[in-house]
Symmetry: C2
Subunit: 429 residues, 2 copies
C-alpha cells in the first residue's frame, strides 16, 4: 500500500515559499532582539515531564502535552513552551552567568490542541527573556521589544493594541481589597478570563453563583473594578496601591517612548501559573482577526524552583502562526521569489566543461543552478521560469570557447552577450 | 524538591557561545547550498511511524526511534532522519513541482543511541537533495556541494577523504559475478560493513563461515575485489560493468573540477536500505578523529513508495556534531564574541530619558544593550566585560543635556567624547 503524503495532523510542511515566509519572520525576530543586545540560545525539544508539573498551566500539562516514556523508562514530553527550559538553563549556571542577562530563542513547541485558525499543534515561538532587572525598567524593555518587532513588520499603531495588567494588583484586589477566600479567587479568575466571551448578564449570573452568600456585597465593587477603562476609574484604595502605581508608571514610560497604543485591562489574566507581577498581551484590532496574538509578563520565581537563588525575570513569547495571520490580514507579508540569481542552461553534453564557469560565478557570491537534464532548451527555460528564476545563462561549446555567454532576462526577454566578470556585475546591481 | 537543571540525556543545551558556533555552521551550510541554487524547506519533527518501516535501516526503526502513541491513538515518532519526510513532501506535489528540484533543510533528528563522541540523541543535520537528474551529473553536483561546504569551512584536501562506491556495482559483484545467494549476500554485506574494524584473519574466518560450502571457491576472488585500491585492480569483468564505468567517470569528473581527494572503496556500504546506485562518505583523516563524518547517495525509488511516479534522486546528510568535532580537531572553528556593539551604562535614574538615544543607535543598525540595574558604574562595566562586550557608553544627566557621550573601549581603555551620530560611525567602521 502506498504511504500517505500528508503531514501529521495540525502541523505544516514548509515548501520553499512557506519556508521563505517563515525565515522572513525569524529574521525580523532575531534582528530586533539583537538590536536590544539579546543573544540566541537553544535547548532540546524533549524535556523531562516533571519540568512542567510545577508552574505551567494545569490545562496544558494534563490535556495538551506530547508526553511519552523513552526506551530507558524516562517520562518525557515535547516542550509545550520554552519558559521552563530557559529557566532550567539559567539555574544550571546561576552563579557563572552575568546579569542583566538577555536571551532569545525561536524554538518549535508542541501542544495537543484541536487545530483551528491561529492554533496548530506545532508552532515556532520567539522567546525573549531578561534576567536580573527588577521593576518597570525591565518590564518596559520587554514590552518595547515586542512593540519594535511589530513596527519592524510594518504594523501601524492602530493595527494592534497592547493590554497591560498586574498579577500583584489582581491579588491585592481579590485578597486584600475585596477579601475573597482562596478557593473563590481561583473560580473568579477563571471566570474573568472568559468575561469577554460571555454576555454581560450571563457573566454577572455566573459570578454571583460562584461567590459565597456572605460575600455578595463584594459583587458590585468587583464589577466596577472589572469595568474600569483606565486607572482613574479605579477606587482610591486600589489605584493608590503600589502595583497600580507601577503599572500606570509603565504605561506612561511606554507612551513617552512613542508606544501609545497600550490599554489598562484588569481582566487580562494570562494562563500561566508562574507570572508574579506585570502581564501584557498584544491584540490584533482588525475586525476579521480580532484576537490575542501573544504576550508575556514577569515571573520572578521560576529560576528559584531549581534550588538556586531566584532571579528577577520578565519575558514574552510570540508565535509564528498568529503573527503570520496578522501579517496576511494587514497585507504586510512580502511576496517571495526564487533565491537563485541565474540558471545556467546547457546546449550539448558539456556539464563537465561548464564547472569552472559555475565555480567562478558562485565564488563571486551568486546563487547559480545548472540544468543537467540534457533536455531541449525550451524545456529548460520553462522549468527555470516555473520556479520563479528571473535570469538564465545559455551555454554551449561555442560560448565556452569564446568566454562570452548569453544572459537572458525571462521577464523582459532582453538578451546580453557578456563575459563571466560582466555577468557578475549585471546580476549584482 | 528542586527540579533538575540538566538537559535530557544525550542532548545539548546551547548557551549563547554554543549557539553562535552552531549558527556559524548553519550559515555556511545555507550559503553553500544556496550558491548551488538550492531552496530551503522544512517539515514537522513528528511523523507517522510507518513512514520509516519501508526503507530506513532495520536497526534504526526497531531500536532507535523515539516512538509513541499520541492522545488521539496515532503511532508516531520523532524523525530519526529527514529523507523519508522530504520524499513524502515531493510525492505530495509530484506533478506541480518543477524539476530539477533543488532542496535543502537543517532539521534536528532523534535517535535513541548510547551517547558517545560524535553521536548524540539529538543532532541537527543538513539535508541536500536533488530531484529529477539521472546519472553522474546529479551525483557530481551533490558531491561537489558536500566538498564545497568542507572547503567553505576552511578544510584542506588532506584533512578529509571522499570515499565512493556503487550499490549497483556491489549487486553486480555479489549476485552476478560471484553468484552468491540472496541470504548470503545480506550476511556478507553486514560483515564487509565491519571489515575495517576487524583483524584481516578474523574477517576471513568470519567470511568463510558465512559462505555455503559450494561457494568456497568465491572467497579468494571476493577478497581480491574487497582489497582493490582503485578501479585498475578490479577483475576485467567487474571493471567493464557499466556501474564501475560510471563510478570511475564520476571520480574523473570530480578530479577535473579540483576534487582530488576521492578514493574508490568497494567496502563502503552505508546503512540505509533505500540507496540504489552511487553512495559516498566523507572521512576525517586526522589520526585522533579518523572516522566517517557524513555521506549520502542515490535513492531513485523512495518518492515512488508514495504511489506516484518515481523521480531520480540523489542527496546527502551532514550532522552538526561530527562536523563540529572535525572543525575543533583541525582548529577551524572561529572564536565567537558578543554580538552586542555597545552597552549603555547609566549614571543616575535616567532610564526613561535615555530611550530616544537608544532608539537612534538601534535604528542605525547597532546592537545596543542598556544596564537598567541602577548599580555602581564599576559593577556595570564588570558585567559588560564579563559577557565580552567591547564598548560601553557612559551616560548621565549631563551627557543627555549636552548630546555628547563618553564611549569607552574596554580592551584598550581608550575613551572618546562623541555625539550619537559619531558613535554610529565609530562603531560601524
Amino acid at each position: 500500500m502506498a504511504l500517505n503524503t500528508q503531514p501529521y495532523k495540525g502541523t505544516r510542511d514548509f515548501y520553499p515559499k512557506d519556508k521563505q515566509a517563515q525565515n522572513y519572520i525569524f529574521d525580523v525576530w532575531a534582528r530586533v532582539a539583537k538590536s536590544f543586545g539579546y543573544e540566541q540560545y537553544d535547548s532540546p525539544i524533549v524535556e523531562p515531564l516533571d519540568l512542567y508539573l510545577a508552574k505551567t498551566s494545569e490545562e496544558i500539562v494534563s490535556e495538551q502535552t506530547y508526553e511519552f516514556t523513552d526506551r530507558g523508562g524516562r517520562k518525557v514530553t515535547l516542550r509545550p513552551e520554552m519558559t521552563p527550559s530557559v529557566s532550567r538553563m539559567v539555574a544550571a549556571k546561576r552563579q557563572e552567568l552575568s546579569y542583566p542577562l538577555r536571551w532569545f530563542s525561536t524554538p518549535n513547541v508542541w501542544r495537543y490542541e484541536r487545530p483551528q485558525r491561529g492554533r496548530l499543534r506545532e508552532h515556532w515561538q520567539l522567546n525573549v527573556d531578561l534576567f536580573g532587572v527588577e521593576g518597570i525598567a525591565g518590564d518596559h524593555e520587554i514590552i518595547s521589544i515586542a512593540d519594535s518587532i511589530m513596527q519592524a513588520f510594518g504594523a501601524k499603531r492602530d493595527m494592534y493594541v497592547i493590554k497591560l495588567n498586574s498579577r500583584k494588583l489582581i491579588n491585592f484586589i481579590f485578597h486584600e481589597h475585596l477579601k475573597f477566600g482562596e478557593a473563590e479567587v481561583v473560580t473568579i479568575i477563571r471566570l474573568v478570563d472568559k468575561m469577554h466571551k460571555l454576555e454581560p448578564a450571563e457573566f454577572v449570573a455566573l459570578l454571583e453563583s460562584s461567590i459565597s452568600p456572605d460575600q455578595r456585597d463584594s459583587v458590585e465593587p468587583l464589577l466596577e473594578i472589572l469595568n474600569a477603562k483606565d486607572f482613574s476609574q479605579l477606587p482610591d484604595a486600589v489605584k493608590s496601591h503600589q502595583s497600580a502605581k507601577n503599572l500606570h508608571g509603565l504605561q506612561m514610560m511606554l507612551a513617552k517612548a512613542g508606544v501609545t497604543n497600550t490599554v489598562f485591562d484588569i481582566t487580562l489574566m494570562r494562563g500561566f501559573d508562574y507570572y508574579t507581577d506585570i502581564v501584557f498581551e498584544v491584540n490584533d484590532t482588525a475586525p476579521e482577526n480580532n484576537r490575542s496574538m501573544f504576550g508575556g509578563g514577569r515571573y520572578d520565581g521560576l529560576v528559584g524552583q531549581f534550588g538556586v537563588e531566584p532571579v528577577a525575570t520578565v519575558g514574552f513569547g510570540m508565535g509564528d502562526v498568529t503573527i503570520t495571520d496578522f501579517l496576511i490580514t494587514h497585507k504586510l507579508l512580502p511576496e517571495f521569489t526564487s533565491n537563485v540569481d541565474v540558471a545556467v542552461l546547457l546546449v550539448g553534453d558539456i556539464y563537465s566543461d561548464v564547472q569552472a564557469l559555475l565555480a567562478e560565478l558562485r565564488s563571486s557570491g551568486l546563487n547559480v543552478s545548472v540544468d543537467s537534464t540534457n533536455r531541449k532548451l525550451d524545456k529548460q527555460i520553462k522549468s527555470a521560469d516555473k520556479v520563479g528564476i528571473k535570469n538564465v545563462l545559455i551555454v554551449g561549446e561555442q560560448e565556452l570557447e569564446s568566454g562570452t555567454y548569453k544572459l537572458k532576462n525571462l521577464e523582459t526577454s532582453q538578451e546580453q552577450a557578456l563575459s563571466a566578470h560582466e555577468i557578475v556585475g549585471a546580476l549584482k546591481q
